[in-house]
Symmetry: C2
Subunit: 166 residues, 2 copies
Amino acid sequence: MTDQNPPRTRTAKLADFMCFTIYSTNLAYSRVYKPVLEALGLTYPQYITIIALWEEDNQTVKSLSEKLFLEPSTMTPMLKRLEAMGYLHRTRDTVDERNVRISLTDSGRQLRERGFGFGEITMKASGLTPEEFPILQKAIANLRNNLLKASREEPQGAMPVKGLVP
Amino acid sequence: MTDQNPPRTRTAKLADFMCFTIYSTNLAYSRVYKPVLEALGLTYPQYITIIALWEEDNQTVKSLSEKLFLEPSTMTPMLKRLEAMGYLHRTRDTVDERNVRISLTDSGRQLRERGFGFGEITMKASGLTPEEFPILQKAIANLRNNLLKASREEPQGAMPVKGLVP
DNA sequence: TGATAATCATTCGCGTAATAATTAATTCTG
DNA sequence: CAGAATTAATTATTACGCGAATGATTATCA
C-alpha cells in the first residue's frame, strides 16, 4: 500500500518522558536518604510507615496501605520486620477479627527523637528555596492524584492509536 | 495509654514530605502504565531500557546504567531477561573485552510500532495542559539533579542536629 | 617487563513491590 | 438461620534495586 517510510527519526527521547523524570527522581531521593536511614536501620518504606503511624496510631493494615499507596501484600512482610525490630505491635481487632491493628511501641515513638527530622537535609539537597518548594510539591501531588484517578477510571484504557510518537 | 485525640501533635505529616510525594507519584505512574506494559509483556525498567537503546544502540552496560541511573548489578539480570525475550543481544566488545555491548534485535526495534507511543495516554492522564507539562518536568528534573549532586558530595553527610522536625 | 592498580561485568543477599491464590471472618440475602 | 458474597490479611511467585564480593581484562608505572 502506501509506502509510509517516515524518515523522521523522531524517536521519543528518554528525557522527554515524565514517568522517567519521576522514576529517576525517586531513585535520587533514595540515595540522599540512604545514609540517614542506614544509621536508623530502616528502609524507606519502613520509614514512611513509622511516620504514618505517628500521624495516626492503631491503624489497620488496610488503612495504612491506602495512605501509603501500597498493597496489603506489600505491607505485611514489612510490618512483620518492624515488629521484629520492636517498633510496633500487630494485634487482631477484637471487634472485627479480620482486621489487624498496628500500634507503635515506646521504642517506635522514640525514633522521632533519634534524627528523624532531616527536613533540613532534604531542603538543602533539593536546591530549592523555601518559597518554591511547596509550590512544586503541590504541582506534583496534583499530577499524582490525576494519574491515580485515570488509573481507576480506565483499568484497560482505550487502546492508543499505534505508531503514535509523543 | 491515655486516649488519643491529640490536639497539637506537631508531628511532621506524611503529606509534607517531598520524598513521599515523589515516591507515591512513581507508584501512580506504574499503575497508569501497567495495562499497556502488560500488553507488551514488559516491565517498566525493561521499557525504559528499550527506549534508551532506540536513542543510541550498541551501548555498554555501564553507559546504559548511567543513563538510567541504575547500578550495573541491577542492569545485568534485566538485560538477560530482555535477551531471553529476543529483544536484544549481549556481546563482549572485541576491542576491550571488559565491556559488554547491548544491541537491539529486529524484534526489539519493532516494539516501537507496537503501541510504544503512549505519550497521548500519559498526557491525558496527567491532567496537565501542554503548556504546563514541560515546565513541571523541567522543575522536577532540576530537583533530581540537585539531589544527585548532593548525594555524591556528602556520602556520609554531616549528622543533623537531633530532634529537628521539618 | 612485571607487579599493581583500575575498570567492567557478574553474582549474591536483602528488602521491597506487584499480582494471584488462599484462608479466615463478617455481612448480606432468601 | 444457612449459604453466598464480601472483606481483610497472608502466602507464593516474579522482578527490581542496591551494596559487597568476585573474576576477568586493561592500564599504569616502577
